[in-house]
Amino acid sequence: MHKARSSKIRTVAAHAILIAYTAIALFPVVLIVVNSFKTRQAIFRSPLSLPDSETFSLIGYQTVFAQGNFAHYFQSSLIVTMASLFLVLLFGAMAAFALAEYRFRANALMGLYLAIGIMIPIRLGTVAILEMMVASRLVNTLAALVLVYTAQGLPLAIFILSEFMKQVSDDLKNAGRIDGFSEYTIFFRLVLPLVRPAMATVAVFTMIPIWNDLWFPLILAPAEATKTITLGAQVFIGQFVTNWNAVLSTLSLAVVPVLVLYLIFSRQLIRGITSGAVK
């Protein structure tokens, strides 16, 4: 759009608003990370300054690595997130393809049934989920978390992916059928590669809540061996409430991996949101 009279004042005002809010959004995160590299005195005396040679200290990180089991927590989180993500994407895409591609009697009903989970949070089933996990001896295993997160991620994944799969050219799939592809080959070889961007979007949407979840690790897998990083950080901070160095370091350690992942995938995520995937 051509704005003939796009005034300077307007541009300045726009930037002022955005810079102000960006500061509000980033300040707390920056504050935590910066102070985690300082000595205890410096944290309190001059919380807003960067660490210099005098105030620089890794004491917090040393405490965390000496006392906490963070490498292990991190590994648990990674396993749970990756496994759930894989299952959500695979099973979600398969179901989405069935709903988008085939006319069959229960199609609409099936779509509606699978969409209930978008509206009703799985957390409300916790009481019964715990009973079930106890009965099947899955409490304090990562498998319990993977199962729950897969179920939690599927409805939205199916919903978004089937929208995208409807856009894949019918002609292409039909060309495959005439060339003798099975329905499975058509799905895996033709359709999946074409919806890769949508898969990436769904992956980010699915991943963030799983990585950040506190509720289910707390209830289903609170044992030391299966603690996720989110739960680990929560428990650890609870124990070291007065050790500011340790607390700030723990928070920084918990922020950084997510932040890095976010920066890698942010284009994908933002494109996903703005392309109207969430409607």
Binding site: D171, L172, N174, A175, I178, L190
Partner: protein
Amino acid sequence: MGSLKLENVCMSFGRVNVLDDIDLEVQDGEFVIFVGPSGCGKSTLLRIIAGLEDPTSGCVRIDGDDVTLTPPAERGVAMVFQSYALYPHLTVRGNMGIGLKQAGLPQDEIREHVAEASRMLSLDEYLDRRPAELSGGQRQRVAIGRAIVRKPKLFLFDEPLSNLDAALRVHTRLEIARLHRELKATIIYVTHDQVEAMTLGDRIVVLNEGRIEQIGTPMELYRNPVNLFVAGFVGSPQMNFIDAARVGYPDADKIGIRPEHISVDPGKGDWEGTVVHAEHLGPDTMLYLQSDQAGLVTVRLFGEQYFKTGQTLYMTPQPERLFRFDAKGAVLGRVPEAA
């Protein structure tokens, strides 16, 4: 070999009848066009022949075998799609060869088939490119190549030219005609473009609202349409339809006369009219005349001819080209035959 027979093919989605009792026989080597307005069922019929859609009832026979429930890949058909439908992740070579690979042909045989098709369509220099690196016309040739490689009994074309620009369309039309001559293949071709239909087809099947209105050679349809729909659909500009009673044919409901079968004269003629508008196309001139008797009439004149808007002209239809239709739209026979 490649003959096709459709017996009582019906198709309905819910309560909507998309195809109603279609019977058709296509001989080996014939080029048959399905033409009709959008939504007439021509594409659905093609998809039923391909096996992409199951008919609600009826039977599809290829070379005499009932293939109604045979999967598409086992029918020996090849299809060229409107959107080309090339596999985006494969090269031109891969696109053309994949059907044969899927059928389990040995490597060198596949290479031979691909090379032959590529030579025919002059695709040799593009064999290692991917579809995204090709122009629209090249993609279309690859799509045709993919069909040729399979050496099918039946070629199915689904509006293959509608995504091309006008110049390329003419070129590809000639190409398809040449391929038909060289391969002597049986071709079923769906289009809504009547120039394609008239120029390519040995026979044309005119479909409307899920029924076959008429089957015939292009000139049969032009000269002897069986009803109002076919008369109006074939030929451009459209045939003029005039209230029969107002121009003196009391035994018919409407009469029809093509614009090119009317002559005009400033002095005398059957119907008086005034020039409303003239379109100069170069080779032809289209005149639109408003007549008290006949309503708005289109007249097609050869060459460059100039008339003033508002000028009075007299129109005379060629009597042997005049059609009479009854109230249901069926042709009652030409005027001179009745006279």
